[in-house]
Each structure stands twice: as structure tokens, then as C-alpha cells.
Symmetry: D2
């Protein structure tokens, strides 16, 4: 870790000079997630201010030379690589960020751990629980900081909900119901892509969308004890080119019922066959003292019902615009009502990881560790097992 000195003054004007170390970052992948992570690395130093550390954009890696070179120029990475091995072994890289596809998670992450790099890995951690376990074992053995990019934990509204749960304000949780609905493959003419190929993706809506709500279930409610599930592939094959088609080898959708260890009852569902639902990750908690609902398409809002609010004549679900200085992370952003968006979750997430690295804090409980990634994978595997067997499956890690 380098030790370049940076002095800063808070916005209010009071001087708060300090030492912010730089941390060398190496990113694998330059597509959707590479863009989201790069943006976060660049915004963090002046928005999460004063920064706990200053990311140094050391290198970006990808298989297509033209594309990765261009990405390096675009985002300001000092170097680019076409082999992830070079990235992982670059001595300037202290934090390895794996934003590649699911089948490129395990090997590079394990190598990075062995090289002593801290790791941020996109979700799902891997294609199966077994594969995830090898990654968990590696980071544990290496003693590096590790985090799975379950970025919805870093939505201010979601963190606020967790804090309400932790505070006891909700009391015993009775119900959790979560859906993650998208629409983008409902069109039969949508072509074959890697996300529909089990070899690359591991699973379909389950690993892509379901993993998110499974992680939120664990983060907000607790461990599932048992689940029963069904899956469905509505469109069995898709075109790959002129007159050619390939088999879809993953689930288009899954539905599951869950019993949590604490007695709560839940439902989980993910699909990419919900016309009109763009990115509808929506859940509701019903508990002893109230209920809470969140919908990712209304990122800056949450709905809450308190049983004992006064006056009773005006009880109901309150729509909270989560944008006050006392809401999670909001003091870093804008005045109330000047809303933020999806990309901001990555700023919060990476800030969290940098704090863990710099200050030696734990990534858990608010950040998802590889242990969390592994557990989500176990639950994903249980969904597939139950769907096949027609039986409820106990969750065992």
C-alpha cells in the first residue's frame, strides 16, 4: 500500500487534514459491470469525502485487445491486459476486482488470493456451491479481504431497513416475500446469450436475479432453514445465427417457498419473463410491529407501516423518500429530495471494502463476504435440487 499524503477539508470548511493511502486496483472485465465499478472508483475520492483511500486505477483486463485498450483509455487505467493472469500478478494491484462472467470467477479469484490481493467479486460468487467453496477456502487461507458484489445491500433504503430490523423496531418477523422481475428475454426472438448457457452462467434467473434476493433474505431476515422450489424454461431453444438455434440450458424463472430458522415464512421468485418489469426487485417484510416494502425501480423510496403510530386515524403505509442527511450515506450526496441512482450503490460498496482494507475492519455484516456468496450458492443449489426432486430441501452449509 502506498502512502501518498492527501490533505482535505470538509465541505463545511473546517480543516481535516489526514493521510489517505492509495490502493492499486485491477479490474477484470470492461463491459456492464466493469463500467459500473470503474465509475465508482473514480467518484469515490471526491464524494465519500474525506476518502478512506484513493483508488489508483492500475490496470484493466479483458480478452479483446482493442476493447480493453479502449476501456483503459476511457476510464483512465494505467495499463491493460488481455490475460487475467497478468492482472492478478501485477505487483501494483492490491485490490483485484472481478467483474467478469460467472465462469471466470473462480480461477482468477483463487489466483489473486494466492497472490495476496484483496478481492471484490461480482455475484453470483460462482456457478455452484462447490465452486464457491473453493473460492472461500482460498481467501480464508490467504487472509485477504473478500467481498461479493451484492450491491443492493448498499442501497440507502435497504441499509435503513436492516438498521430498523437490528434496532428491534419491527419485532419478530412473520413474512418475507421477494420477487425480482425483468422482461428482457420474454421475446421469443431474443437470441442465445451466455447468460442462458449453464456452462457459463451456472443457472439462469436464479443466479442472476435470484441470488440478489436470496442474499437480501439472509441479510434482512436471517438464515433459511428449508425451501421448496419449482423452475421453468419457457423457451427451450433460441437462435444463434442464420437458421441456427441452441438449447437454453438454464431456468427462465424460479419460484420458491422458504421457512427461515427464526420461524418466518417466505416466498422468492425471479424471472426474466415479466413484461413491463424493467428491474423490479421488490420485497415486503411483515413483522410484529409493522411492515416494510421496497422496490428497486423506486430506488430512493421505501414504504413502512408502524402498528402503533399515532394518531391511529392516519395510520397506513408511509412512503419515505430516503434522501435526508440522516439516512445511510446521504450526508455524502445532495440535499434532501435530490435523488441518487443505481450506480451509487457501487460507490458505497467499494467505500465499505476500502474501509475494511485500510482500517482492518470486518467486511461483515454489512458487506457480503465470500462466506455469504457461498451460502447464497448453497441456497441456489437447493432451489435446483428441490425443483428436480419435488421435495422440500433443508439448507445446510
Amino acid at each position: 500500500m502506498s502512502d501518498k499524503e492527501v490533505g482535505f477539508v470538509s465541505m463545511a470548511g473546517a480543516k481535516a487534514t489526514g493521510t489517505a493511502p492509495t490502493i492499486g486496483v485491477g479490474v477484470l472485465g470492461y463491459a456492464f459491470m466493469g463500467k459500473a465499478h470503474s465509475n465508482a472508483f473514480k467518484k469515490l475520492p471526491y464524494m465519500m469525502y474525506p476518502p478512506v483511500a484513493i483508488p489508483r486505477l492500475v490496470a484493466i483486463a479483458g480478452r479483446n485487445q482493442d476493447a480493453v485498450q479502449e476501456a483503459a483509455r476511457r476510464y483512465g487505467y494505467e495499463k491493460y491486459y488481455t490475460r487475467w493472469q497478468d492482472l492478478v500478478n501485477d505487483p501494483d494491484v492490491q485490490l483485484f476486482d472481478n467483474s467478469g462472467p460467472n465462469d471466470a470467477h473462480a480461477e482468477p479469484c483463487i489466483a489473486a488470493a494466492q497472490a495476496g490481493k484483496h478481492i471484490l467479486c461480482e455475484k453470483p460468487l460462482a456457478r455452484t456451491a462447490a465452486e464457491s467453496k473453493t473460492m472461500l477456502d482460498a481467501v480464508r487461507k490467504a487472509g485477504v479481504k473478500h467481498m461479493v458484489a451484492f450491491n443492493y445491500r448498499f442501497v440507502p433504503a435497504v441499509r435503513q431497513i436492516r438498521e430498523l430490523v437490528d434496532s428491534g423496531a419491527l419485532g419478530q418477523i412473520y413474512h418475507f416475500r421477494a420477487v425480482y422481475l425483468q422482461e428482457w428475454i420474454a421475446d421469443p426472438d431474443f437470441p442465445m446469450v451466455w447468460r442462458l448457457d449453464k456452462n457459463v452462467a451456472g443457472s439462469g434467473s436464479l443466479g442472476d436475479l435470484g441470488a440478489h434476493i436470496i442474499d437480501l433474505a439472509r441479510y434482512l431476515v436471517g438464515e433459511p432453514a428449508r425451501l421448496a422450489a419449482m423452475t421453468k424454461t419457457f423457451i427451450k431453444d433460441r437462435k444463434t445465427g442464420e437458421g441456427q438455434r441452441a438449447q437454453v440450458t438454464v431456468d427462465d424463472a424460479f419460484v420458491a417457498t422458504v421457512e427461515f430458522a427464526n420461524g418466518a415464512l417466505g416466498t422468492l421468485e425471479a424471472t426474466r419473463f415479466a413484461p413491463g418489469r424493467k428491474n423490479y426487485n421488490c420485497f415486503e417484510i411483515n413483522a410484529e410491529h409493522g411492515s416494510i416494502r421496497f422496490n428497486l425501480e423506486r430506488f430512493n423510496e421505501l414504504e413502512v407501516f408502524w402498528k402503533d403510530s399515532q394518531p391511529r386515524e392516519t395510520q397506513g403505509f408511509t412512503n419515505v423518500l430516503v434522501s435526508e442527511s440522516y439516512h445511510p450515506w446521504w450526508k455524502n450526496w445532495w440535499p434532501q429530495g435530490h435523488i441518487i441512482g443505481w450506480e451509487h450503490t457501487f460507490v458505497h460498496e467499494i467505500d465499505h471494502l476500502l474501509r475494511a482494507i485500510v482500517n482492518g475492519e470486518d467486511v461483515a455484516p454489512h458487506g457480503a463476504t465470500f462466506e455469504d456468496g457461498y451460502r447464497a450458492a448453497v441456497i441456489c443449489d437447493a432451489v435446483l435440487e428441490s425443483a428436480q426432486s419435488g421435495r422440500a430441501v433443508d439448507i445446510k452449509y
Copy 2:
């Protein structure tokens, strides 16, 4: 059936004289449902105008003499009885309306059928599929008209959805997710009542709320082929009096996954442990050409997404205020935007039954017959069986 002549003129002024027979009605039960049905019988003749028949309020029956006598005065029944047998055998009664508790459905309905009365029975038809089957056999044998009061089929928005499904506008259905959430027993101090006693109610949230969404699933999507379920009783016993408690013998909540015969995937859930949810019967359909959502708390609205609506820049979920003259039943009510409420479903429902009786039309498909009531009971039984066995259960009638 009497044949008193009534002449009528439509609101528009054009004379439409006709013959509206009177139909003698006998109602069992004077509480919540007795009130709702009585109101409907009284409003029907001047609101569903010109009426297909004029209900004559012959008699009302209930066990408490003072209460039933008072109900007769209040609603204008000519007679009252404290024994349902007297009601069922009253020769002036042509239509027997069973608005009593679940354990008082089978015997009176069977007797009424044997006495040749047409029958309207509150839901759930009975406490079990087996009990329901005896009722179905009886009405079939008697050849009378029969209807289960699944009144949510008679919400204008719901009928509109069914018409859209029938028209093919939605195309293949991929998903159906329905919840029926209430809050009224989430309070641990709420006492023991008959709805929590298996002997009287048969089941808990399942038969009370779940039966409604199971019926809607069948009405809107089609037959379930297979389901897997979990149930929960959060509060095991409740107070019955000073220092005394009784065991709750029914489910407080259930969750289920369903695969429909047509390939659609679904979830079903009912609970009375959802603080803030007053009467939240909410479902969503995702289909080939669009999606539809309905929420009973916003009775007069539905939300619909059409994939191919133009211009694409303004595609999204449309909130329809179902209150135009071309919406189901609306020409009978008020100008657009002058909304109606829950009680109006019973007017539509009874009008439908009277048309079947007077015109010899079928109650099906828009009205729920005892066959539908029996099938809903089979599915309820399957929920309980699956919850106990931990296995998916095939639905067989």
C-alpha cells in the same frame, strides 16, 4: 316462481316494459355476510335495471332469536326462523342463500337441494374436499342452480381481466402471483374465534383468504397441475376468557408454488399477519403480450402493460380507473370516475345467479358453481397435504 308483472323504462326514457318474476329468497345468517347479501337483494331491482327478477325477502334464519328477529325487521324479511330446517322447507323460498359459518354449509345446502331450492353458498364451499363433494353431488342430483359466493369474480376489474385473457390479448400466460394479506390476528391479544377453530372453519387463512385467490387463479389462468406448500401457525393458543386459552388449530398463513396445466408458474400466499394490509388481495399476471395487476384495496383500478403499445417512449404500466360505461356492469352505476365499492360485487353476483335461474343460463363460466367450490377445496386440501409431507402434490379432481 311467481309472475308478478313489472313494467320498466330505461333511464334514457325508452320504454322497455317486460315481465320480471319475483324469486323468494331465504337467507341463513344475519352477520357480516347476511348484511352484505341482504343489501344486494335490496339494491338489485332498481340498479340492475330492468331487473331480471325481483327478490322477495321471504325469511332469514339464525340461532339467536332476538338477533334474527331484529335482522328481519332491519332488512325487511317477511319471516324469521331460528332453525335452518324451517327456512329450507319454506315453500315460499325458491333461492336458499347460505351465509352461515363454514360448518353450517353442507347439511343445510344438501337439504335445500333435496327440497328443490336453488342455492347460493358462501365460500369456502365446505371444510374439506370430501365435504364439498357431498354438496356437489346433491345439487347435481337435484338439478338446481348452484353458486359459490366467490364474489371477487364480480369485481368489474377482475371480469375485465378475464375478458382480456379470453380475447387472447395477453397470449400465453407465464406467471401468476397472488397474495391475500390481512392483519387482524397479528396482535397476540386477539382472542380465540371460530375462524381459528378447525372444527368450524376447516382451515385458517387458507380457506378464508386462500380460497379466494385459488378460485381467481383457476378463473383467470386455468387449472393448477401441481403445487408445493408450507403453512404456519405463529400464535399457537389464544385467550378465550379470564385466564383461559384455547389452541389455534388452523394455519395463520400459507405459501405455495404452483405449476399450471398450461405451463404457467405461480405463487399463492395468504396470511392474517401482515400489519397494514387491510384487505390486500393482490395478483399479477405476466404473459406473452403484457402484464396485468390488481389490488382489491384499489377495487376500481387495474394496472396493465402492453408490450406493443405505441409510442414505445411512453410504454409502461397503465393505471386504469375501471369506471366507464363499457367496463363490466358499469352502465348500471354512475358516470365515469364515480367509483363503487366492495358491496357492489354481491349485486353483480346475485344478478348473475338470478339470470341463470330465470333464463335457464349456465352459472359457469363467470359464476363459480359448486364444482368450482369443490375444486377449490381439493386445492386447499393439497396445500395442507404438501405442507405436511414436504412434497409437491398433483392436483386431481
Copy 3:
């Protein structure tokens, strides 16, 4: 007033025998409003239970003999008249209900007052303030009970808001903004009707829709001190038949700013040129301790914000489903969440008037008297005066 005895028992079963007088009702008009009022008279005795009085449907009057005869049959009036004079002079009529068009308000109401009848008159009270004043003078002189059918005072949510204002919970009111938007004449092909003829209607959107929000402004906020307004007639003439057109002589829309005597600032607007707005009577109050919003298209809901609600992290606008037994009038209806509709306002309104008649109570402040009707007319006149002069106008009664 007759004194036929009626005994009743509350739903709970406790006997509450009493004497409910009958009150002879005579209704002028059998169209939209005649239907709404007739329905209310018929429902009241068994829904507002035990009833303060039992309406006896003595007679209905209208100019078209076939139509009025048919209306009498349909709703169960004992007699019908084609001359309002016969209705007003019928000795069996104790309450004269004027549901006729605006130009048929003054003369019949004055005659009825002179005949000693209590009066319910549809809004607006008359076509101008001057005409309204003659009616107010007449009922005062006669000493009869009088009420203008500003039925939105009898929406449970609206009464609830008034109670919150009266309780001081809101504190000083800063703002009131109200719109009443409809769409039905935005189509240029919509023909000429009486509501667009100044001779019959007095004014356009102003008297029809604006009068409602002007009355709500006075009911909820207090007296306007000053206003400035603009009006508009978008479509100047409309077809009356084949190749024939007539001039539209009323406003299609008006907008106004208002300063209230208590210092609040307001805006008022009404139009029938708002595509998609079916019956959108929507207002918001901003006050010292919170804000409240109501929208008639969501009749059973209100939104409220409390500045000091706890915890602050979950402050926001609360959506209240106004359907609990402790909400206004709700104990007469159904369990929570089983919503009611527009027509129910008339049941509440007429119940209120009957209580005034039977118990000698004041119609004010919750019912609108002819004084209120006159004041609304003064404000309507001020809108037209300001629109013409381009100057703010002080309100003086």
C-alpha cells in the same frame, strides 16, 4: 311527521328498541342525481342503523311523464308528478329534495320553503349569488331545515381531514391547492348540452366542479378574503344537430389564486378539458405540523405527512386506507379494507339532514346550509368578475 314505531337491535345483538319517525320525501328530478338520492333514501334505513328516521318515498316529479312514471316504479315512489308545484304542495311531503338542473333550483325551493317543507337542494344552489340569496332569504323566513348537496363533505376521508383541522393537529394552514379535473367535453365533437348554456347552468366548470372545491376550501381552510381568476372557453360553439351549432356561453375552465382570511394562500382550478382525469377532485393542505392530500378518484384513501412523527428515518407521506371502524361513518359499513364508493356520500348526507330535522340539530357546520350555498355563489361570481376585470376581487358576503 308520522310516528310509526320501529324497534331495532344493533348488529352486536343488544336490543335498542326506539321510535324512528317516517319522513315523507318528494324528489324533483329522476336523472343522475335523482338516482343517487333515491338510492340513498332506500339504503339509509338499514345501513345507518338504527335509523334516525325512515324516509317514505312519497313522490317524484319530472317533466317527461313516461320517464317520471317509470322512475316512480323503479325506485318505489308512491306517486309521480309532471309539475313540481304538485310535489311541493303535496301534504305528505315533509322533505323536498331538489335534484333538478340549476335553473330549476330557485323557484321550486322558494315555493317549498313557503309551504313549510325542509329542503335538500343540489349544488350549485343557484346560477348566481343574487338568485341564491333569494333562496336563502326564503328558507330563513320559513324556518325550515335547509341543506345544499355538497356531498364531498360526506366523504369519510374529507370529514376525517376536517376533524384533524379542528383538533389543531395541523396547526396554522399555509397552503391549499385544489383542482377538479374532468375530461368529458375535451372532444370537439361533444355536442351542446344544458351544462354549456349559461341560461340554464349559470356557469360552466365553475359552478359544476368549482363550486365543490370552493365549498371544500371554506369547509377545511376558512373564508377566502380575496381572489384573482382567469377563465377560458376553448371550444366556442358546439353542434346541436345536423349542420347546426350553438354558442357555448359558459367557461370550459377557470384558474384562481386565493388569499384566505387566516393568511393561507391557495389555488383553485376546474376544467372539463383534462384527458384521462375522470373525476379528479384533488386537494392538498400544507400546514404548520404537516400536510394532507386527498383525491376523489381514490375515495377511500388520504395521504398525510406529520412533521414530528417518529422515527424520523421513516417520515413521509402516509397513505391511509380510510376504512376502520373509528373513521367517520365506517362503523355503519363493512370490515376494514372493504371499501365503499361515491354513492355512499349521499347516505351520509341525507342521514345528517334527517338528524337535523328529527333532533332539531343544526345542519352546520358539517352540512352545507343555504348560507354556504350562497357564499359559494358569491365566490363563483367573484371568479367571473376578476376574470373579466383582470383585478383581484375582495370577497364580501
Copy 4:
């Protein structure tokens, strides 16, 4: 303008090498707006990709040396100044960004124009129309590019609405109603700040919030021809320190009615006394073929009603999640449903200005020029004049 070469490749991988000039930027102000603009300058090069120009952060200026030095470090400005004159005369500065308070707009902007700098100035352009006119004259004379930061023109939903208006899809506009509601000074204990001082701010809610909706009215509907207004200062003085108070010399709120040159009728209102309204800039257009509604607190959504959409049974207001690649600017951001926020408007706005500078395009009509800023100021002045005189005022530029 420097001519450093930058090569880029589109995300899709196809090489698109080009020359992106750098443009030297000097910003006056490091508080709220300085932060928002700095963020935009930093994000633009990699998000509006390939960039039309690369902002070079030359210098930032402000009166407090410690604070401005710190701001320079934080955002990466090469230099800082405590005198705006130094900034304006810095030869490396090609674009002068005035993010200072209202009373620091005119003099620096005029000096910058005289120095040949392009100018971006925060809104309102100045404290009065007269002051604004001096600025407009200066930029015209200098022939520099000029833009007022009416950033809500750069909300994707707002641009989309403008495109719908331009396309003729809405037809003739009948109504425009806009409110801009905030709550932050409703608390009587809120202290005196510069925004409440007429000498610094020019006006209160009017210039701060009202200017935005006045600009939107002009952008979306057209020129106002006439208006009538009222203003209000609810709290006349506020604390400035221990036992000391100063007079509030601006409006706390205003309301206005407007007639547009094209015949549309409108209302405008702004206040900071609306508890619960965080940043509620909400407007609705009613037009010949439909209606549109936007609410800034739901930045990523718009609501639209089309009169002729099919099928008519499902007509209603459609809630559009503005986040598809074919929505304005969205191809630069994220996949559908991954929403953006308030800060993104500045990226779009500055990109627009850079295109004008680099490509010689007009700032108008989509960007607000100083001419637009001046016209908004004329309308603001008219509001104050009408409020004082009680008369409608014609708008003349």
C-alpha cells in the same frame, strides 16, 4: 482550445478514434452547485462517450481561502483563486462556470464575456430582469456561448416530454399546472440565510424554485402572455444569532395564474412551506390528445395518458420508467430500470454546452440561453408586480 488527441472505442468494441479537444474550465463557487458541476465535469469524459470535449479543471474560485484550496484538492482543480477576477482572466479558462450566489452572477459573467469566455451561469440568471438584461447584452456583444443552468430541461423525462410536444402527439395544449414545493423553512426556528435576503437573492421561492417552473412552462408550453399573482411571507423575521433577528425580505411562497400566447391556461406555485415535500417539482399538461405529468421526486418516471390508445378498456395514465436506450441520454448510462438521479442532469447539461462550443451549434432550443434567463426574470418581475398591484400583468420582453 487545445487539441490533445484522444482515441476512443465504443462500448461495443468497434474502434471510433477521433479528436476530442480539451476545454479549460473555471468554476466560481465550491458549495452545493460547485460540487454538482464539478462532479459533472469529471464524469462527462467517460460517460458521454466518446466525449465531444474533455473538460480540463483549470481553477476554482471562492472567497474563503481554506475552503477553496480544499475544494481544488478534492475535485482536482489545478489552481484556486479567492478573487473571481483572477479566474475570469485566467488564460487557461475557456469556459467560465458561475455557480455562485445570485448577487455574484452579473458582474463576473459580464467580465467573463468581455474576456471572451463561454459562460455557464446558475439560475436565476440575476436578481431582476434589468440586471439579467445587462448580462444578456454582454454575452451577445461578446459573441460567446452562454447558458443558464436550468438543469431540469436535462432530465430525460422532461426532454422526452418536449419531444412529444414537438412531435405534435399531444396536439393543442389546454392546461399547464406546475408546483415546486419544498419544506425547509417551514420551521419557524430555521435561521436567517442569504436566500431570504432580497439584496443577495433577489427574491425567495420565486427566483429559487419558481424560476425553474417558469422556465419549464416556456420550454414545454410556450410564452406566457399574461399573469396574475399573489405572494406571501409567512414568517416575517428570523434569528441571526443569540437574541438577534433579521427581517425576511423575500417571498416565502407565490401563486400565479397564467394565460399563454397559444391559449393554454396555467397555474404556477412555489413554496418552501410544504411539509413533507422534499423537492416536489411537479407539473401536468392537459392537451388535445392526451395528458402528461412529471414529478421530480420520481425523476425516472413520467405519467402519460393517450386519448386514443387501444384497447379502450385499458386506457388510463401510464407510468413510464424512463430508462430505455431510446429515451434521451439513456444509451450513455445503464440497462433499463437501473435508474439515474438528480446529479446526472448536470452531465447532460454540460455535454450540451460543450457540443455548442466545440461544434458551433446553438444552445437553444434545448439549452436555456441568457435570453431564456432574461425572459424568466421578466416573468418573475411580473409576478412581484402583479402581487403588489392586484392586477394581471402582460408579459413583454
